[in-house]
Amino acid sequence: MFFVIAVIVLIFVVIFQIAKASEYVSILKGEEVSRKQNNKINGFLMIAFLVLGLIGVWWCNELYYDKTLLPHESASVEGKKVDEMLWVTLAVTGIVFIITQILLFWFAYKYQETDKRKPFFFPHNNKLEIIWTVVPAIALTVLVVIGLRNWFIFTGDAPKDAMVVEVTGKQFSWMFRYPGKDGVFGKKYFRLIDEAAGNNLGQVWRDTTIHVKNSRGGTRDMNFKADAHNFDDIFAAQTMYLIKGKPVKLIINARDVIHDVGLPHFRMKMDAVPGMPTTLWFTPQFTTKEMAEKTGNPNFTYEIACDQMCGNGHYSMKGTIVVVTQEQFDAWMMNQKPAYYTAFPDADPNKKVDTTAKAGAQTAQLKLK
């Protein structure tokens, strides 16, 4: 460490000495001569920066293109539209980038001060200015039209046959709820959350009365009636199963602070805001297994990345999506026990056949693999 610092200090001293010396030299030579010398050096560096920079852009692409998501098709049907848009935008901005950067550094090199050069008095030209107002405006209109068409598809209603899953973020993990056989989510309320009793979402399972403090320091009673829709709701932590080819609509909640359901492989993302449910829908088009083959990565996982700063464990807030076929999904679902029955085993009508259910679960696990 001290060695590194010593080297840095030494470099600084050398630079300082050179800088000082060149300043004395320039005073001796006269300001104008030294200015012209500096012009030559910097003019050359300008054109060198341009050439090496453009090579660098190409080289960077060679190195890292394969590590992005772009070499493989989007894992959702809708994501293909995002990728198309990305390429169109890249084409438009890429052309502008290359032209303007070349002009900038080439002009800087070409029009450096020399003895002969007379600057051209050119304060304005309306025709030119109108051209470079109108042309970008037209290009942007095209991009806006493409973008908004997709935007209204993504934010529009999910297809009618979509399955629905409720996603809830908490510090620092994900919870999922499926509506069960009746296809309806039971009611929930955040004050009923009781992790010890297995009620992670605050589902209204039983007739309950709670006492809530009011603003004047007193309490008021809140009465809840048991919601039968809750009895068959399936709860799953960390891993969400989805079906290949079937649109899915996520209803997104947060339990404590703002989180974000980030789905890079599906090109989708939506915030999870406490007290304000949001929605997101897409159609997975490859199973996890198919993606592992496509990407050549046997460990491939659809990861849910929290994309909104949510606390010190933000970086570890990972969920998993497993995309399977309809049959595999049905087999998995059949072996899920509603959270209600876990919390209240007495209410479970299948209580006695518990042992067979367990065996069934094991075979289902094997099938999935």
Partner: protein, 570 residues
């Protein structure tokens, strides 16, 4: 109370913060590049910010990124940039002896210093400084039970920011009043240099949008301390058996609207003064008038108006009403038009010029290059459907660091090198300036260009460690490289600092009143102007600020009366 002294105070305080903020970025880049490395010497230096193995903890990592963002955006690029150059240049370039209210001006600095001290003190409190990201979204920022940094650290953060808002309002009102009322005889609005126009629009932006931020902060203070529920609803905290909170009926997204109503104009508060100075320095050193003076003012005006109408493009994935989102897409991409006009006008300004590569000019050219690169990725992010995918990834980091962070710094360097002779009566060393420019320019691209690729892999921002993620761990080598370059670039900024302070005392003396051959009024003052700027009468202005290379003359100062035979007079 002299405006030139206040400018220097702003600049030097800003530089102190730039060093602190820069050092913070070096530390967290250390973590990102070398997450496994153990550095025990850091333990001695940083105490509990480092764990027993000598690695930066997650908590301190988040504190570092949060304070880095806050101080760089507000203390360096707002106070350090427009605070410095508005104070220095407005009276000198419009021909006034001082600001409209020197007293308010001085208070503006002292409020800034108070804000600085409070922010600095927050770094040393027991529970650590605020660590929920510089945008401070509630509920995270409202609840100490959600994150330790949201305790006392956040209280201090909010107090510091409130003081800062007061400082920038006092400053802004003063700048507007001075520009409107204190121009010298003959200095009509359309004869003002573009620096003054840019600072004028910057001040308007600040005065109209900072109060909204303050209102957002006040509601947050209420939610934190007085039991209100503006932003809080339906919250259950599992840690420490806190359980369900009593708050109901608030909306966390409300804060984001209030925050970004300033937060977006803020990026123009940073970039407009830089644009103004770049325009001026480019014209002077190309020995040519700025191309399309009126179009430049028009585009500044358009950017100012649009800046107020695009804030929700930071919120495309918050569950925003899709129709509202579409309006914000349209208005956001509209900003690309005035931005394009400015870029093309700068290109035409250097076209067929006679360019002198002073360090100031180099930074001006670098600014344009960065503004193009970062501005174009704004077109990607402003288009909501594409933003869904790229939102909160490293693509965003790359975008705003290039277009606002580094470009803003380049504008600042450009201004410092160019007006240093006016501030201290000496030159900064050229050779060190050239090394500073080229290393920073190359380094900035090496750091931020590859980050676009990380973003295209969906790699999220604000992650302490990526090694557990199948989707993002492929970039560990790249992160090492970026961290290494960041450290080199930081070291070169120390060279700049050395050059700056050394030259105050030992720099080459300025011998000529007008060392760059510029037309504007500040170069008609004595080499070391005293209080009141001009000895005797304030000069009268007869022409615009850009008569370079006209009628075969190298330049014609603004104070020269119009000759009888002059062509196309402005």
């Amino acid at each position: 109370m002299d405006h030139k002294m206040i400018a220097k105070q702003f600049l030097i305080t800003g530089m102190v913060w730039a060093i602190i903020g820069g050092l913070m970025s070096v530390l967290f880049r250390f973590q990102l590049g070398y997450p496994e490395a153990e550095f025990h010497w850091m333990k001695d230096l940083l105490g509990k910010w480092v764990n027993d193995k000598g690695q930066i903890t997650a908590e301190s990592y988040y504190s570092l990124v949060t304070i880095h963002g806050t101080v760089l955006v507000f203390f360096v690029l707002t106070a350090g940039l427009s605070g410095t150059f508005a104070n220095l240049l407005i009276p000198l370039q419009v021909g006034a002896r001082d600001m409209a209210s020197p007293m308010l001006n001085m208070l503006s600095y002292w409020f800034f210093l108070a804000a600085s001290l409070v922010m600095l003190s927050s770094i040393f409190v027991e529970t650590g400084p605020f660590s929920g990201g510089w945008t401070a979204y509630p509920p995270l920022s409202a609840l100490a039970s959600a994150q330790p940094g949201s305790g006392v650290g956040m209280d201090l953060w909010l107090i510091a920011m409130a003081l800062f808002v007061v400082s920038s309002l006092l400053g802004g009102l003063n700048y507007i009043a001075t520009i409107l009322n204190m121009r010298t005889k003959g200095m009509s609005m359309t004869r003002m240099p573009l620096t003054i126009w840019a600072l004028f629009f910057t001040a308007i932006l600040g005065v109209l949008s900072f109060p909204v931020l303050l209102s957002g902060f006040i509601l947050l203070i209420f939610d934190r301390n007085f039991g209100t529920s503006f932003y809080l609803s339906d919250i259950f905290i599992a840690t420490n058996n806190v359980g369900a909170l009593p708050n109901e009926g608030g909306n966390a997204v409300l804060y984001q609207h209030l925050f970004w109503f300033l937060g977006h104009p803020e990026v123009y508060i940073i970039i407009l003064p830089a644009m103004g100075m770049v325009s001026e320095v480019m014209a002077v050193n190309s020995r040519k008038p700025i191309f399309g003076y009126m179009a430049m003012i028009g585009s500044l005006f358009a950017i100012t108006v649009l800046a107020f109408l695009v804030w929700a493009h930071h919120m495309f994935v918050t569950g925003l009403n899709p129709f509202l989102g579409s309006i914000f897409v349209l208005l956001t991409l509209l900003i690309a038009v005035p931005s394009a006009i400015k870029v093309f006008n700068w290109l035409t300004t250097i076209w067929r010029g006679s360019i002198r590569f002073t360090p100031g000019m180099l930074f001006a050219i670098g600014f344009v290059s960065l503004f193009i690169s970062g501005g174009l990725t704004g077109i990607w992010l402003g288009n909501s459907a594409l933003d869904i995918h790229l939102h909160d990834t490293y693509f965003v980091i790359a975008h705003f660091h290039i277009v606002m962070g580094v470009a803003g710094m380049f504008g600042m360097f450009c201004g410092i090198y160019h007006w240093y002779p006016k501030m201290y009566g000496r030159y900064m060393n050229n050779t060190m300036g050239y090394i500073h420019f080229w290393v920073t320019m190359i380094g900035a691209y090496l750091i931020f260009w590859p980050m676009h690729y990380e973003g295209l892999a969906g790699m999220p921002r604000r992650y302490y460690d990526y090694s557990q993620w199948e989707s993002f761990k492929q970039f560990i080598e790249l992160n090492k490289f970026i961290s290494l370059v960041a450290m080199i670039v930081f070291a070169v900024q120390l060279l700049f600092l050395f050059n700056f302070f050394y030259s105050i005392f030992k720099g080459r003396r300025v011998r000529s009143q007008n060392p760059w051959g510029a037309t504007t009024l500040e170069w008609t003052t004595p080499i070391n102007p005293g209080h009141g700027n001009w000895v005797g009468e304030i000069p009268e202005v007869h022409r615009w600020a850009y008569d370079y290379g006209k009628d075969g003359q190298e330049f014609i100062p603004q104070t020269t009366p119009v000759g009888a035979n002059e062509t196309n007079h402005h």
